[in-house]
Symmetry: C2
Subunit: 631 residues, 2 copies
């Protein structure tokens, strides 16, 4: 509990009149109301929150409860309850006894309008002391921002434009694009369980189509496995599951009646490999390559971020089984090719990094992930594959008889791509107008906007429709936006969503038999003749390539060799450090502790030779590693 | 507890020597072992199960526990624990005191091999009496089938053919096709949570593609909503959720720590309509048509049946919102058209039935479902739509401002199609060789099988590959089966899976420049010239049409007018009764009680005139209804 003295001195210093009410010890607003003979609605309940930019104190009537989700909606920022130690550190008091004078701790105060309807309000200065002050005085000294905690902002037409630039606030810019670009809506009742909006979902469908094609070429079959996994299975592969245990959501009852505890899959190894053990009998059943598209749940307790850190997300998990170590390693090569091809589709240059021992997937012999660089200088992990060796096949008894009648355990690999990727694409390509989608991924590749003038409406609209159907014949995803909005509004909206090519058709163009084309990724504007429509597929191809080239250039320019910690710190400010490492976990941990950046691994399959001693301990280096701050 | 007398008289009658051990009352094998000073492994624990064909008694050592899933695997049949009242009725004793002498009750006994390793075994004849008999004597009088309850059959190459015909055992035939045709594997650890195998999943992907196309034409957008729904939402629409409550699986903890109770979605109205309330503001936002493809969980306690009654299944749920009742009713017409089109793709004739008041979707004003007739005379519910009126929009406050600035609640409809449909397709079209898939749905439309002879291998294989690529150019899903198996084995396998067209190419054909074509649905075999390959798309179209025609004829032939209960009973023996109904719930209930058949509803939009009095009460009839036994 906060010491009496501090609050009381503060009030005296500001010459605020107050009354002290002494009572037996209390531990909640309800108890306080009874002991001090006051109304719960007159008590200033104070709750400390952590936002992306710092801390904020919310003060509301004791009889009202709080809904984090609503705050996020109001602030358009991720928000979470402060932890007990943070409350103590920041406010100088325990949770349950927080005072409403946030400014005493240099914290901004937000106050619910209903509390201020009271003439007097009450707060505790200790478990046995309640303080009464005039509401007017409280407002004078804390200068709160007055908000309505009950209301989800609704009925207000959201302005389309972004409220900030990438440079001002990258994180807020990202949230704006996600929400206003129609990728996700986070205003759901459960944090980290968002709605993937039609535009965002359509991008995911594109990713699915492209990935399915690559998987099929690699002999993969899709299937579907159960959502729930019994506890006994988890016990079977404790080592692997350990990494997921704290995040695993458990099911314990049906219709109010208890049932055997089961986990919602955080990943499907245990159930899939159990089935593999039933399916694999002979070398003829190998290789087995099974993929599933599904939802998974990981209850991360950190601040959630749409797509980037969700508690429920969608993904693809490919699991393969092979007769020999060599064949499984060859499958890792196939997986890398798939990841590279997807990187091309995403137009995102990346480094195929073999993760360090401490960073690899639980149960894998080694893990490879494709790191791309985001505009803010942090890296982002794209699709990744794992070489599981026989670790799982031994735990799950996946045995087969080889050509000579000898029994052996299968060799395994796996690969995953998640909806997280959509967040990476937006952060990688986006600009201050919104998302920028590469043509391969954009649900609409060409948006056609009629610039209507009186008397010309129908002729312009007809040309638009013609262009649309010609493009569709060329297998381009084209669409006329004939909604009753101004062309300017439409330009903004489709820019926000990231459509790679915009066609404008107005009376001036029409006269010249031309159309105006605007490329999203570089704002380039050109006119082409209306009978040159068949050039558009090529233009889209070029955009795809140029975006990829731009990304490669960006990556290359932001990797810097670092021979010592000073160079390393400089390199990771806006990119990736290429440094030398002795291989010890100690050095890895110290690098992280000193710089906030992680050793992301070695370039897979390259065996790069160290060019200096270990960047941290200065002893002999074994590896060239890539170090960066990461999402 | 069973009375001493009955078991003891039975043993005496069969001249079996036994000892009685008296002790204080016991209530479990553990207690019994202590009280009678015997080993738990010597106790004959007996458990009564209900199978699809009747009851079965399983006897196992007291220290072993039972795994239903393994039994299903051994018996290839659905199986569940008998209910307390069934145990009492069948065995004459309570659960917990069941004796192992199944034949005393006319029940087949299965005994675990481990129990029979004991020289003597023990069972209770009452809570205070344990009986000791020689194992040899137990075997002599009960003649058990000896099984190994520990082992999942593995390593045994399954025979491909079906073990039964539709006529012999329709239910077993169905399970055989599902499992051996590669549609599903039920050998998972959780009942009703099966694996959808690659072939079954590929059929689902076909259904998704076809449905997505129809939805898109109807202006529908796909999105994704959270898996978990908080309790407070369920409270909001109690009336609707009531129907799902007993089947709803709840999440209560994360990593062992308690969290607020949430439900795994059994359907998504509550979360989707909450979001609708945030999205809809003005008439310009309407109509809103949002669809999601996802998994849902309903913990049905009845016997599960793959696809037909799963606890987790995949589905599509379309939810629409409109400005007026008329527009929403028009959307119901769109939904009906979508269902009809899907019926055409499934090649399944159906009746669009408006369900009775007691059978409609909870919260709907009315429900329409498409009933098809299965070969065993029962009906099967296909896709269905619901007219929700303003019932949900009022509960979830989905309001909009109309053109005149007046506020109103939206009018809603919804539509669902599930993986259950795959079961219906198999039951509807299948024959004694396996599944029969219509060309629109089959993942492979043409399977090409080389009939290899020595010396001709490569030339035959080359022709096969040629045919494959020509068919692919014609947009036919074709595949050469060049695995190292006999042609006969391959014929069987693809027949089992239901591929609509098989092409055989052997040396004889090759000489004549011909290929042999075999149609799956009617076994018709024809030869065509190799340069007539381009006829195959038309042949597939014809198969699709003919299967649909055959289905229509089958449905028509199995609907019979019924003027009284005798005619009704006759009609529902192998089909649907068309009868007259007064509209009272009493008559509906009595019809069900007397015949086991349900009033499935009236033909939607037809307003058929009654042709006789109510089939049950003989009073004035209001409706012509369709009555049948149903899955
Ligand atoms: Zn070092
Ligand atoms: Zn009646």
């Amino acid at each position: 509990m906060i010491e009496d003295k501090r609050v009381i001195e503060f009030l005296k210093k500001h010459k605020i009149k107050f009354k002290e009410i002494k009572h037996h010890p209390v531990h909640s607003c309800k108890e306080m109301a009874i002991a001090a003979k006051i109304k719960e609605s007159e008590i200033a309940k104070s709750i400390l929150f952590k936002t992306e930019s710092g801390f904020a104190l919310f003060v509301l009537p004791g009889n009202k409860s709080i809904n984090e989700r609503k705050f996020e909606d109001i602030f358009n920022e991720d928000i979470e309850l402060a932890k007990p130690d943070e409350v103590e550190k920041i406010m100088g008091c325990e949770i349950g006894g927080v005072h409403p004078f946030g400014n005493l701790a240099g914290i901004k105060v937000y106050c619910d309008k209903d509390l201020l309807k009271n003439e007097k309000i009450y707060c505790s200065s200790s478990t046995t002391t309640t303080i009464e002050i005039k509401t007017k005085d409280f407002i004078d000294i804390t200068k709160p921002e007055i908000i309505d905690m009950n209301v989800i902002k609704k009925g207000v037409k959201e302005s389309l434009g972004l409220t900030t630039t990438r440079k001002e606030n990258f994180s807020k810019w990202y949230l704006d694009v996600i929400r206003r670009g129609g990728f996700k809506d986070q205003r759901t009742p459960i944090k980290g369980f968002d709605v993937i909006m039609p535009w965002g979902y359509a991008v995911w469908e594109q990713i699915q189509n492209l990935m399915n094609e690559l998987l099929k070429q690699n002999g993969v079959q899709n299937a579907y496995f159960p959502l729930l996994i019994p506890e006994s299975f988890i016990e079977k592969e404790k080592e692997h599951f350990k990494g997921f245990k704290a995040e695993t959501v458990n099911v314990t009852e049906v219709g109010g009646e208890p049932i055997e505890k089961m986990a919602i899959r955080p990943t499907s190894e245990t159930i899939m490999y159990y089935m593999f053990s039933l399916w694999v009998r002979s070398y003829r059943d190998l290789p087995l390559k099974i993929n599933q598209w599904c939802n998974v749940v990981r209850w991360d307790t950190k601040i959630t971020k749409p797509f980037i850190r969700d508690r429920e997300f969608l993904w693809q998990e490919l699991h393969t089984a092979h007769a020999t170590r060599e064949e499984a390693l060859k499958e890792i090569d196939n997986i890398i090719k798939i990841c590279e091809k997807m990187g091309e589709y995403f137009a995102m240059a990346s480094l195929p990094l073999k993760r360090t021992e401490s960073d690899k997937f639980p149960g894998a012999e080694f893990s490879i992930a494709f790191d791309t660089l985001v505009q803010d200088g942090k890296v982002f992990q794209g699709p990744g594959g794992h070489f599981l060796a026989q670790n799982f096949s031994k735990a799950f008894n996946i045995q087969f008889t080889d050509k000579n009648g000898k029994k052996d355990y299968v060799w395994q690999t796996c690969l995953g791509t998640t909806t997280r990727q959509i967040g990476g694409i937006i952060m990688h390509h986006g600009d201050d107008k919104g998302a920028v989608l590469p043509p391969m991924l954009s649900p609409i590749q060409v948006i056609i906007i009629p610039v209507l003038f009186k008397g010309k409406e129908s002729s312009i609209l007809n040309v638009c429709k013609d262009v649309e159907s010609k493009l569709k014949e060329l297998k381009i995803r084209a669409q006329v936006d004939d909604r009753n909005y101004s062309p300017g509004f439409k330009y903004h909206e489709w820019e926000l969503r990231g459509v790679p090519l915009r066609i404008e058709i107005g009376p001036v163009d029409l006269k010249k038999n031309e159309i105006t084309i605007v490329k999203r990724y570089n704002n380039e504007e050109v006119s082409i003749k209306i009978n040159e429509i068949d050039k558009i597929p090529k233009i889209l191809d070029e955009i795809q390539k140029e975006m990829f080239e731009r990304s490669k250039k960006f990556l290359k320019e932001h990797i810097h060799d670092a021979r010592d910690m000073e160079e390393l710190k400089k390199a990771i400010k806006n990119g990736i450090a290429r440094a030398n490492w002795c291989g010890s976990k100690d050095c890895e941990d110290w690098i992280k502790a000193k710089t906030g950046a992680a050793v992301r691994g070695t370039l897979y399959g390259r065996n790069e030779k160290p060019f200096a001693p270990c960047v941290y301990c200065n002893k002999n280096a074994k590896y060239v590693v890539y170090i960066a701050k990461a999402y």
